[in-house]
């Protein structure tokens, strides 16, 4: 579904991300792990076409992102950030936002919004303003807002990092179940390998802005590709 070839992204004149070769299959959940500054978020922004490559290319459905109509492409994906970034409106309106952008009819929007609010357990909060939600609730709304679009590609940038451990664990479980059930293609960024192994089919390890290794958690733990990966695994919380 996605092919990344010889990709270089520069930010502020410095190399922020280098990926020589990476494929993401349809229906796969690829987890991207690495320490802070590893280029994980840069990869997601590039996949969302919010950053332009300095070199190389990303192909979506065998067509370069440069050749896709920007809006057409962006409306096939959905992005969830670490911070919920909800708009100052009700939960229901927030969840409906992306559908509104796409001009989906009101009845259809309402049906889908309620379906996904129920799936994420926030239907009782539908009339609540975003500013009145707790962190866990806000992130559930953020997930519902992304899932309601039923995107071809879901990009998740450490969506639970700022939450307390019990909420984090519960949301991770729910997310994992939804991805598994719908066979949705997703790229999930985290800096925790254990978390990665719970959600994903494969794991991509980034260190220093470079893709170092791709494989299952077991493969990566038993055979780190190089010293940088081994050092990351060593420093990672168990």
């Amino acid at each position: 579904m996605i092919q990344i070839r010889d990709l270089l992204i520069q930010r502020n004149g410095l190399d922020a991300l280098r990926v020589d070769f990476l494929d993401i299959q349809r229906g796969e959940t690829l987890t991207v792990v690495g320490p802070n500054g590893a280029g994980k978020s840069t990869l997601l922004l590039a996949l969302a076409r919010l950053l332009k490559p300095s070199r190389g290319d990303i192909l979506y459905e065998n067509k370069s992102l440069k050749r896709w109509d920007e809006l057409d492409y962006r409306r096939r994906i959905s992005f969830v950030f670490q911070s919920p970034l909800l708009m100052d409106m009700s939960v229901e309106q927030n969840v409906a936002l992306g559908l509104k952008f796409r001009g989906i009819p009101k009845a259809e929007t309402r049906r889908r919004v309620w379906k996904w609010m129920q799936q994420l357990g926030v239907e009782s909060l539908s009339k609540r303003r975003a500013g009145q939600l707790s962190g866990g609730e806000a992130q559930r709304v953020s997930l519902a807002r992304a899932f309601v679009l039923e995107p071809e590609l879901l990009l998740l940038d450490e969506p639970f990092a700022a939450l307390d451990p019990p909420t984090h664990a519960r949301l991770l479980e729910d997310l994992s179940a939804l991805l598994e059930r719908d066979h949705r293609t997703a790229v999930f960024v985290t800096h925790n390998l254990n978390e990665a192994s719970k959600v994903s089919h494969r794991i991509a390890v980034f260190v220093g802005g470079v893709l170092r290794q791709v494989g299952t958690a077991k493969q990566i733990k038993s055979k780190p590709a190089d010293e940088t990966v081994a050092a990351f695994l060593h420093e990672m919380p168990q």
Binding site: L97, G98, F101, Q132, G135, L155
Partner: protein
């Protein structure tokens, strides 16, 4: 005095020219301020510094420049606008536009920069993104509008220089106050000043009410504790 037709004419003209200047400033300042806040281009800081300087433009200097431009022998003299309400609107727009532009840029720059990416990541077109950023910054944008209107309804220098304070044609509240003071008619000047203050207060009261209405709606519902989630950081 409250039923003096001349006072009503002066008050009406004051409101008309200042409202027109504020609306034109909004039409210029909102897109320009947005471009400055969201754009990433060379010279942006320089333009912002010019706009910030423009926010403190002395009305008499604006009046002088506009008067020279609209003077019969000036570059825009053929338009025959000097000493007309249109000339006052032009001068007041030059005063209010930097205020609206600067405060619009500041309001949008204060939003979380990732909000743009989030809106685009949800499939917003550029236009939809800007619209929702305006919506998100609506309270400070309303403050920008209030500041723009306040800067022109209260100015006297530019209105006097380009309008000429002609009775029945270009006399506005501020220039009328100056005239009455110069004649030693302090009672009349005070009455006009009170009228100006009340008008300004009522307009700002209406805008503040709109501004606060949105804010109150956020907190009008109780917040039951669900207990399972951490407070939002």
């Amino acid at each position: 005095m409250p039923f003096d037709p001349e006072i009503w004419q002066i008050t009406s003209l004051s409101l008309q020219v200042s409202t027109a200047a504020t609306v034109i400033s909004l039409l210029i300042g909102l897109p320009f301020g947005t471009w400055l806040a969201l754009g990433n281009f060379r010279g942006r800081s320089f333009i912002l510094s010019l706009i910030n300087t423009g926010m403190a433009l002395p009305p008499v200097v604006v009046g002088l420049v506009v008067a020279m431009s609209l003077w019969r022998s000036g570059p825009l003299g053929d338009l025959r606008l000097i000493y007309t309400p249109a000339a006052i609107i032009i001068a007041q727009t030059i005063i209010a536009a930097p205020v609206v532009t600067g405060l619009t840029a500041a309001a949008l720059a204060a939003l979380d920069p990732r909000l743009q990416q989030q809106l685009l990541g949800l499939g917003a077109s550029r236009g939809q993104m800007v619209w929702y950023l305006w919506r998100e910054a609506r309270l400070p944008l309303l403050a920008a509008l209030m500041a723009g209107f306040g800067s022109v309804i209260s100015e006297v220098g530019a209105s006097m220089m380009v309008g000429g304070n002609i009775r029945g044609q270009t006399r506005v509240l501020t220039t009328a106050i100056v005239l009455e003071t110069s004649k030693g008619e302090f009672g009349q000047a005070l009455a006009l000043s009170t009228l100006l203050l009340v008008l300004t207060y009522l307009i700002n009261l209406a805008l503040t009410w709109i501004q606060q209405k949105g804010r109150k709606a956020d907190w009008s519902q109780s917040i039951p504790e669900r207990g399972q989630s951490a407070p939002r950081k």
